[in-house]
Point group: C2
Chain length 222, copies 2
DNA sequence: ACCTGAACACCGTTCAAGT
DNA sequence: ACCTGAACACCGTTCAAGT
């Protein structure tokens, strides 16, 4: 009856936790419910995340942020740093041949999609540092692109910060507009002539996003 | 001993809740602790926020978002809608005579400051609609400014969305960079030449913010 | 190594009761 | 109207124990 190896793994725990978050909301992710979903006692999770829920949250943010995740099935283990730079089967990453702005556009759309797909997890991002390896790959992509664009030094860092800010902010702007209105939403009246006149003007969110992105990339050119 | 009027008010509750959030973090704001801080039983709070903690969170977000809050002491009561448009003492708002871009710059800096001052409360913003009266005032300010800049129709709405996205995102970018690093932060190595080369390049956050803001406002001009 | 079961110190919220 | 006190159904996490 009582199995003592339920095939639990950090990956399975993260995936299941994310399913609960996406389906029921962040507040309904509890260790006990997660245990139920994994068909395991809640306390079993602590064997894989000894630091508890906070560590699980860290892993969830890292998981979502890893937009360029390799397909499931590959090993997630960190391999010990070897003298030789290459591991067998660890294929050399083919450099993206497209111009810098197209690469950034693709990244922005992919990242936006990843955040929107897990919008319920967004509150977890705010107070977690982006110092995972996935974040590092993103930074490298940004810096390489803006360097190719003709920027250098602090201007590159600045441009990357603006781009990242825009994408994050645009997703939040989009998410905040969804959801059910407050019990007594304020409605524009005569005191707010511009807001009244433009009430109901709505653009397709993705179109709005890419338009804003384009004008922003233009402004970041040297 | 047992008083039955402790002078509780929504404003006092919100202020005290915010003090706990700012000082100890969002997760440590509990009804019981908040009751203690107010020198009242936790259940007394429910008399002022019948819908419980979620309603309190709504009020906290509205409070922080109200950057142009009138000084404390004035009545917060909603007065019944009167036939006459003006109340005695409800001074007509003097229109800001400065050009549109300066008005937007001031707004952006004020809003950034308000968010940074209560960074611990930021997770509460993500899933709450900006349909308070304070949000409406902000929208009016944005729309009026971008109209004055020469935009019209959907372009105005688009520009306001981009501006709001940037400010929110920039604050989050700034907040995420603070805080203590993860237990095993990823460090750029040979695989990330640009990230390695630009490591340690840091700009003053406010300067970075205004620089990004300026280039963004430039790009939003017609 | 991996999981269970009981226990502890908390939570948010309801409800009847006090003044 | 405004607040209290007890109670209920949960939480996260610990610890010793099982296999």
């Amino acid at each position: 009856m009582s199995r003592n190896n339920a095939g639990l793994s950090t990956d399975r725990i993260i995936t299941e936790a994310l399913r609960i978050i996406d389906g029921q909301g962040l507040r309904r992710l509890t260790m006990r419910r997660l245990g139920d979903a994994l068909e395991v006692e809640a306390m079993a999770i602590y064997h894989h995340f000894p630091l508890g829920k906070e560590q699980l949250f860290d892993a969830i943010v890292a998981y979502i942020s890893d937009v360029f995740r390799r397909p499931a099935g590959e090993d997630e283990q960190e391999d010990p740093p070897g003298e030789d730079g290459e591991e067998a089967g660890d294929a050399e990453e083919a450099p993206d041949p497209r111009p810098w702005d197209e690469r950034l556009r693709t990244w922005a759309l992919d990242y936006r999609r990843a955040l929107l797909d897990h919008a319920q997890a967004l509150p977890l991002f705010i107070h977690r540092r982006p110092d995972t390896e996935a974040a590092l790959r993103t930074r490298e992509l940004h810096y390489a692109a803006f360097t190719e664009a003709g920027l250098s030094g602090a201007d590159v860092v600045q441009a990357a910060a603006v781009l990242d800010s825009y994408v994050t902010g645009a997703v939040i702007h989009e998410v905040r507009a969804d959801g059910l209105p407050a019990q007594h939403p304020a409605v524009p009246d005569g005191r707010f002539p511009h807001a009244s006149a433009l009430r109901g003007v709505e653009l397709d969110p993705e179109h709005r996003f890419t338009r804003g992105l384009d004008s922003l990339l233009d402004s970041l050119r040297p």
